[in-house]
Symmetry: C2
Subunit: 154 residues, 2 copies
């Protein structure tokens, strides 16, 4: 699957099956071999102080990390991905659009991840996600541990 196919696949999956992604108005801004970038407007994601709600930032980062892990499996039909651990550090409030960028794993990490997946039908990936504010300054950092599992049956 190429990046455009993955982009459509993720968008359709979130739109049809994750109501909160629709409520947050999550949009896939960019997907290429280096990164997955998601964006969401401030309106539906605001808190009582007019900045981004911490739960929205965690939700957006979780979707980004989850998406990167599914793309890393190379096969959206064969594997499913679950989040095991999530940590977010909030450094500055976000008053503008919420933008989360998850880095794709480096080539060596990707190879190790796919080898483990092929060998054991299960592999773990740590994904770092950065949230940036209007002036492109880092606003929050997320590290998530995701597990890909081979779907049984067939």
């Amino acid at each position: 699957m190429d990046s455009d196919t993955w982009r459509r696949r993720l968008a359709s999956l979130w739109q049809s099956s994750i109501p909160l992604a629709t409520a947050m108005q999550v949009e896939i801004r960019r997907l290429d071999p280096q990164r997955l970038q998601l964006a969401a407007p401030p309106g539906p994601n605001r808190n009582h102080m007019g900045s981004a709600f911490g739960g929205s930032l965690q939700g957006l980062a979780t979707l980004a990390g989850w998406g990167v892990t599914l793309v890393a499996t190379g096969d959206a039909e064969r594997y499913r991905v679950v989040v095991r651990d999530a940590h977010m550090r909030f450094d500055a409030p976000v008053f503008s659009e919420l933008v989360a960028e998850a880095r794709m794993p480096a080539p060596a990490a990707l190879t190790a991840f796919r080898d483990a997946l092929a060998r054991r039908g299960r592999a773990r990936l740590t994904v770092n996600v950065e949230i940036r504010g209007a002036d492109d300054a880092p606003a929050a950092r997320f590290a998530g541990e995701f597990v890909a599992l081979e779907v049984s049956g067939g």
Copy 2:
């Protein structure tokens, strides 16, 4: 403010100012000097596998921790609360209603928190939140660091 007043205050704040809390259909199930318990139905919080979306669990836990910290200040007009750090460990999927319970700080911790707040106009609180599934088994654990700040002006 007594527990009933706080309960109405939190509910009104979330309903009027945090659209995602409304999208998640968050309800304050219980608020007393020991705990704040929030609940949300599975429907709007599901993922593509029919269990609770990790972002919803983090959002619910963040609201619970935030609520406990605001209640701990003793004065919703004088202080505002922001989340600084959030960690969630996901142990088991939640297929039923989402229930998050945050523990109020122990008396000594509450006294220290309020002393710091009165002295410096700023204090930090770590709040533990537990998510339980249908059979009341622990499904996810959250630890959040929240900062209360005196609202300037006046």
